[in-house]
Symmetry: C3
Subunit: 157 residues, 3 copies
C-alpha cells in the first residue's frame, strides 16, 4: 500500500471525508513551495464547514478528543500535500511540525496530544513522516479550535 | 509603482514613519539570510520607542485596533527586508507568516487580525506577497504588545 | 577554545551534566537535517528525568529562574546539534530561535527571558550563534515547563 492508499485508509478510520475543497479562508494560501521545501499553513480540525473539536483542552475537551483533533489537523495537512504534489510519495521528509493546543491552566499533556498527529504522519508517510516537533499550550485558537498544526516538509526534486 | 513605492505609500496610509532605526533589542538580529531564504525576527507594533497597540485583543483592544497592530508588524518586517535587500523587488516569495495575537479568553477572530497583515503584504509585494500563514492566540507578548508577527521569505539569488 | 570546549564550559557553569541520553519522548525525533538546514525539536529545560524549572513566569517563577530555564533549553539544543554533527564547529549559522515563555497575565519580559538563551548561543557558537528570534508568552507548556525553545540552523556542507 502506498502513501496515498494509506491516506485514504486513515481518512476512513477517522470517519471523515476530505474530498470537499479544503477552505483555508483569508488572504493567504494553504501551501507554498520554495524549491524542494513546502510550507503548509496552520490547520484547525475543520471538516467541510465545521470545526469538529472546539473548546479548551483539559477543561471542556478531553485528551482523547484533543488527540482526535490533532489527527484531523494532520489529515488536512496531508491532503493539502497530496493535492499539491500529485502523490504523497513525493514527500521526502516532514521537517518540522508545530502543534498548538488550546489549554486549560493546569493541562500539561501537550506532547500526548501532538503524539496523535505524529503517529498519523508516520502511519501514512512511513519513514518520510519522521519529523521534529514543537508543542505548546496557547490561550485561544481561530474559530475556537482546540488544536492547530502547521508543518514544513521537503519533497523530491 | 514598484514594491518600494508601494511600501512608502502604505507607511503614509498608516500615518507612521519607519525612517528611524528599527530597534529590535536584545542579543540577536532582526534578519538572517541563508542562501536565498531570509528569516525575519518577531515584530511587535513598535514605531520609534512606542508600542502603538498594547493590551488584550477582545478585551481592552478591539478587532480594528488589532488589525492596525498587525499592519504595523507587517510594515516593520517589510522595512527590514527592504533595508537588508536594497529593494523589495528582491523578494521572490513570502513563505511563512506566523501571527501571534494576545487574546481574551473568548476571542476567536485571530484569522481576521492576521488578514490585515496578509493584505498589506499582498498590497506591497503583489504576487510575491502570497504566503502560508499560522495565527494563534497567545496569553502575553513582549512589551504587552497586542500582536507579534514573524516571517520567512525567499529572495532572488 | 573551540565551540565544543565552550559548550562543555557552559554546561559546567550551569551545574548540570548533559551526558545522559537526551530523551525527547513521543513519536518524533530531536533533530532532522535537510541538506544544509537542521531543525531541532522544541526543548523544555529537562536535565535527565527532571524538568528543572516549572510553573508560570512572573507568578511562581522569577525572571532569574526563567532565564536559567532558557539557558538549559538552549544547552539541550546545542548538545543535540553537537551529537548529530560531531562538532559544533559544523554549525554555520543559527537561523531562527523561537522562545515560548509560560507567562503570568501581567508578565511582559519575554525578551529578557529569551536574551539568556541568545547570550548562551553567542557564547558557545560565537558569530555562528547570531540568529533571528521570536519570543511569545504562552498559557501552558509540556510537563508544566516554564520555557520551551526550538531552533533552525544552517550547517557546513
Amino acid at each position: 500500500m502506498d502513501a496515498d492508499a494509506r491516506l485514504t485508509q486513515a481518512a476512513a478510520d477517522l470517519g471523515y471525508s476530505f474530498d470537499a475543497e479544503l477552505r483555508v479562508g483569508g488572504n493567504y494560501v494553504p501551501l507554498v513551495r520554495d524549491d524542494h521545501v513546502v510550507y503548509v499553513s496552520g490547520q484547525v480540525p475543520r471538516v467541510g464547514d465545521t470545526v469538529v473539536v472546539t473548546g479548551r483542552v483539559g477543561d471542556d475537551v478531553s485528551l482523547d478528543q484533543a488527540q482526535h483533533a490533532a489527527r484531523v489537523c494532520a489529515m488536512r495537512a496531508l491532503v493539502l500535500l497530496q493535492r499539491a504534489l500529485g502523490s504523497l510519495d513525493e514527500v521526502r521528509q516532514v521537517l518540522r511540525v508545530t502543534v498548538y493546543v488550546r489549554s486549560a491552566a493546569q493541562f500539561t499533556q501537550h506532547s500526548e496530544v501532538a503524539d496523535a498527529a505524529s503517529e498519523l504522519l508516520h502511519r501514512v508517510l512511513d519513514r518520510a513522516g519522521t519529523h521534529t516537533r514543537t508543542s505548546v499550550g496557547v490561550f485561544q485558537l481561530p474559530k475556537n479550535a482546540s488544536v492547530e498544526l502547521d508543518l514544513i516538509a521537503s519533497v523530491r526534486r
